[in-house]
């Protein structure tokens, strides 16, 4: 039994790597920066360039086009609904996986990651098979907005579950026991003790799910029907614009999505920072 639970200290790594350290840092940072620039940064730069190439007016026209607007509204709307659903069901699922025990729990736990492993187009096809025209259980929601929400629920399912699980695992049940010994009822304990601690986990999962939902395409192409103005999400709209030979228009709308992605990334980063700050006290 060890007296202290201290983890191995992080002694100034740069000191030990001093001999030739600065040169090799420059080299490795150079290599990864170059790779990232060529693979990620430059294409994005080209995209932003294209969207502004013909001036602000053209940009605005492309974005305010009624079909584009309708696609954006639909996408954001559906995404928010899905995020709410995920917050509720994701938290419940994480709770059940951590606090409950039943035969097959480990299998269920493994299956949560299925949307990460399964190609989105296959997901779309399976949803179509089950909840489309030839549905064996008689539910046909193909080519409706419900289908969009359903598909998005599938692909975003793991996010909140996986961000909440580790928090729940680490959560000191002693806090809850202390609260109960002081007279609090189960719901109060959940509301005042558990939930505040879960919140950062829930939020970061929700933000990740939102980012995913906004950009999703593979699972939607088959089941949503992509009826312009009705069941066409932004990603499909952009695809359409490219195929109709209007890359600039597509780029303008794509940049809106890009902006949303950046904002969401910042939010995740801020949440992470917040959480560690909270822990450090």
């Amino acid at each position: 039994m060890e007296a202290s639970a201290a983890r191995a200290p992080h002694f100034r790594p740069r000191e030990a790597a001093r001999a030739g350290g600065r040169a090799s840092t420059a080299i490795s940072v150079g290599i990864i920066s170059t790779f990232l620039t060529v693979v990620v940064v430059l294409p994005i730069a080209a995209l932003v360039w294209e969207s502004h190439k013909s001036g602000a007016h053209a940009f605005w026209q492309a974005v305010s086009n009624p079909l584009a607007v309708s696609a954006l509204k639909l996408t954001f709307g559906a995404a928010f609904v899905v995020v709410i659903v995920n917050i509720v069901f994701g938290t419940v699922t994480a709770w059940v996986l951590v606090r409950d025990d039943f035969p097959g729990r480990s299998v269920v736990n493994a299956v949560i990651d299925l949307p990460f492993a399964l190609p989105t187009i296959v997901a779309g096809l399976t949803l179509l098979a089950l909840y489309g025209p030839r549905s064996p259980i008689g539910i046909d929601v193909a080519y409706t907005r419900t289908a969009i929400v359903l598909a998005l629920c599938f692909v975003t399912l793991p996010f909140v579950v996986r961000t909440v699980q580790p928090v729940l695992l680490e959560l000191d049940t002693e806090m809850e026991e202390a609260a109960r010994s002081l007279g609090a009822r189960q719901t109060t304990v959940f509301r005042r003790i558990v939930l505040p601690n879960l919140l950062p986990g829930i939020l970061s999962g929700a933000v990740l799910a939102l980012a995913r939902a906004l950009g999703e395409i593979g699972s939607l192409v088959l089941i949503a029907g992509n009826i312009p103005g009705h069941t066409q999400v932004v990603s499909v709209y952009v695809l359409n614009q490219i195929e109709s030979g209007d890359p600039s228009g597509a780029a303008a709308v794509a940049v809106v999505l890009l902006g949303a992605s950046f904002v969401l990334l910042l939010a995740v980063g801020a949440l992470r920072f917040f959480v560690t700050r909270y822990e450090r006290g």
Binding site: F89, L118, L157, Q186, G218, S261
Partner: protein, 263 residues
Amino acid sequence: MAKRLGLRAVALGYLLVVLLAPLVMIFYRTFENGLKPVWEALSDPNTVHAFEITLIATAIAVPVNTVFGVLCALAIVRRRFRGKGLLNAFIDLPLALSPVVVGLALFLLYGRTGWFGSWFTAHGIQVLFALPAIVLATIFVSVPFVAREVIPTLRELGNEQEQAAATLGATRWQRFWRITLPSIRWAVIYGVVLTTARCLGEYGAVAVVSGRVEGQTETATLRVEGYTLNFNTSGAYAVSVVLAATAVFVLVLMTLIKPREAV
């Protein structure tokens, strides 16, 4: 007690409706009419070629992103330099970005009038609507995974083991090879599994940049779409079932490796 069962029912019910039932459907529908239509679809040369394209793109993207991911993690965790925040942001970007946006970005960069595209066209090399574009798109979307898995592991590890190795006489290369790499191997493997799954499943970006020419620039995922749009449902299911089986295999690997990651 009732509350516990209630919660359990809600969670499992949700998972059943959204996740499990569709998965089971795929296997059911595929073999509904026997093996023959499945075999026909899978042995169609265009389908075989589609699988080949997918595998080639994956076979290139995975090692490239693995090396990148490990180098990145080492630099971010062990070194001090400016711009780490920016670096982190761009590594994470592919996770938050719509694949169609990725495809469009590549389309613009490598198109005939693009910054890179014009150079390639002038030299007679075709990037867009050909294999190179498919590979580039696959690399882009799978950039983050290895880095994201290795970084926290490397952080947890600290560098005391390397210091100890130094005092025992190990050179920098020996420390890297015998201590650093073995210590992160499970994180790397897990990252590789995630990367591979992402590469195999990529659709949106390649839909934009590949041109979708049957027998030439189609990937397996595009093939599924192609079959469906042509009302060849058995073909679509056949390819899907192969992809789904691979996904289940990936899932098994993930489940086995995940606990080992936490060293």
